[in-house]
Symmetry: C2
Subunit: 413 residues, 2 copies
């Protein structure tokens, strides 16, 4: 099924806001075989909205629209949609009750702006917004559908997952059950993985679909299924996941659809372990990734960012002789940093990085992009040397990911 | 002048990559009175590219295209542009020399893919890409212009600033000189700032333009000027910047167009100061922001991320009595963290944060979003309490920015 995305808002065209809605829409819809034909960002102007709708309905079966609603907008989109699809703008009682409930839950009071949110065209069916005041409007014309949603990403994504996608699927693929499974695969590049799964994919039931979602340094495998019979679907999904585990073994490090730092966090929590980081070239980014996860204080103790060499020797107990003999970007230094921070901050586990993020500071021995990293779980230590091409940001991001993967691998042993 | 932006790439339509190019394009062009009419994201398909070009030339004078180039693309865009504008694809010597130079600077070797980057349509004028291998192509048709650029944001933005914008201005506004000045303003909200600058703006020469670019927690003021006489322009710019300094005083914390962490870094380097951070709720993000700046090892010593309370008392010397009396999210704890890390890591300056990033952990005294932060320069300490609405990510981001601003303010005293 082809669809188009229309993003309405002057604030996007002047570069004040970046459109992130189209991205997650595509990621949520692609597992169903839905394909975004184009995304168009347009101004809050009736002529632009009408032109985009004409184009969308000429070329695709479904148009998803975000933005142009909300109390501070100049009331362009709703009247335009009303003119386009017919009918008139009326105050809708159910929508008004919903707006009042949302406003109350936010400890605010109703005003003229929020009251106007209850005005909707008679030509649409309203999907009540459970997390905001702007209503979601479903229009149909000659078998084609437009869904208009607010532009606030949190509201649009929440309601898209809870209501819009299920309703679109019932409308276009009625009576079908849907299931997902996610696997985190590491230590193998995409092309090799595809070769190893070639036969598996050829034998996959036609109602299952396997997608490769490459991340920085790892691959997410997403298995999606659609079937009329819920039980048949679940059994086939279970069997396929078992086959994937049998084929890939330890390359599958997790079965969760979570950021890597949250997967690591869950492993630590399961085992009652605590974690500390000792970071040089990653400069605190690993600690930042870990603490972006809500609840990370359950297992994360803290970090020593030892950017200056003397912080490595004075605080983390790295031997000066090893720094002199092997340089600061070396296996002994990375391992002693991990051991040192675990001991200093009294943590069961640790990760450590030392490297040259660039653009300056490279040498023949350790060119820019070289990183030594170590992970420690109890008395066990693992370490590896990596070389990353590209910018400083990329070196920091990839080294952070690989250090977490090294720890995850050690935790899974 | 109206222009359109065409973003080419399947990876955008499946939600793997977010388009950020259109945003900075609009921000760079709006000071010249240029207005983006629409942004369209399309697939790597000849029919889609041709349709978008037809639409762009029908509705706007200039089309800016990003993406669809680069060695791993399936060679769709260049042949399509060649068909659309006429001529044939030929190996261009100057482009080949440029590709070879870029490849050499990256310590890579030429291969068939990189060689193909030197193929360009005879109907275009090449602007050599100084920071990548994909050439920038300038096409003209009936007084209208298409500029095709690579999709990599760093390459496209660098070349847009260095070459494409000056060439567009010479083409459409010939003989005009252009100048910019940027000021970082803190501690005042946009609407109040606009009121304070109302008279200044009304008296501004017609060839100067002041733009407000609100960032998270601060505002960038950008003064742009266009004039035929270079000297008149520079004099007017200087006078206006002096007037802004007179009007805003200490609210202007910097005159540079740099990320905040780089501005702070430059102040530290000028004074020969070193910096350490002690982070609780920001979890290493401030250290990460600082170390994203190349050359930060000149002044950044390191950080102690004291996520667990005992790391605050054991490593940073925070008094347990103060934690008990005032709770861990309090002024004495923030100030002792700053003092403790400066002393432990032997740094002249420090910043510290302690707060509740959420979603859990709030209390009546310190609801979710409360952050105490402190900055220290030598023996001088400043501290403040903030409360941020919104998600965990937002609390971390805003607290990191405000802590850096607090330090900058103290450095400027």
């Amino acid at each position: 099924m082809d669809y188009s995305i229309i993003v309405v808002g002057d604030e996007l065209l002047i570069g004040q806001v970046t459109d992130t809605n189209s991205g997650w829409m595509a990621r949520h819809l692609s597992p169903f075989g839905w394909r975004a034909k184009w995304v168009k960002v347009i101004a809050d102007e009736p002529a632009e909205i009408e032109r985009a709708l004409d184009e969308a309905f000429a070329q695709t079966s479904v148009a998803l629209m975000t933005g142009g609603l909300g109390p501070t907008k100049d009331d362009i989109t709703k009247p335009t949609l009303c003119r386009y699809f017919g009918g008139e703008l009326v105050r809708d009682e159910a929508t008004e009750r919903n707006v009042a409930a949302v406003v109350e839950a936010r400890h605010l009071t109703m005003n003229a702006y929020t009251l106007d949110q209850a005005l909707v065209p008679t030509s649409c069916r309203v999907i009540q917004n459970q997390v905001g005041t702007a209503p979601i409007m479903w229009f149909e014309r000659q078998g084609k559908v437009l869904v208009s949603m607010p532009g606030v990403p949190f509201e649009a994504e929440t309601m898209m997952r809870r209501e819009v996608i299920p309703q679109l699927m019932r409308h276009f693929h009625s009576d079908v059950h849907i299931a997902f499974r996610n696997l985190v695969v590491t230590g193998i590049i995409e092309s090799l993985l595809a070769m190893r799964l070639d036969e598996f994919e050829r034998n996959l039931p036609s109602f299952l679909h396997l997608a490769y979602l490459p991340q920085t340094g790892w691959i997410k495998l997403r298995l999606t299924g659609m079937h009329r019979d819920d039980r048949v679907l679940e059994e086939a999904m279970d069997t396929s996941v078992q086959q994937l585990h049998a084929l890939l073994g330890r390359a599958i490090v997790a079965d969760d659809d979570l950021p890597l730092a949250a997967i690591v966090g869950n492993r630590l929590r399961e085992r009652g372990f605590t974690l500390a980081t000792a970071e040089s070239c990653t400069g605190g980014n690993i600690a930042h990734l870990i603490t972006q996860v809500a609840g990370s204080s359950d297992y994360f103790v803290g970090s020593v960012v030892s950017y200056a060499t003397r912080v490595k020797t004075e605080q983390l107990g790295v031997a000066e002789a090893d720094v002199e003999r092997h340089t600061v970007v070396s296996q002994p230094v990375a391992e002693q940093m991990a051991q040192g921070v675990a001991s200093l901050l009294k943590a069961h586990c640790a990760v450590a990085t030392t490297g040259i993020a660039g653009p300056g500071g490279g040498s023949d021995l350790n060119p820019v992009g070289t990183v030594w990293m170590a992970a420690r779980v109890g008395e066990r230590t693992a370490s590896q040397r990596k070389h990353y091409p590209g910018s400083r940001d990329r070196v920091i991001a990839r080294a952070s990911t690989d250090a977490l993967l090294l720890l995850l691998d050690l935790l899974n042993e």
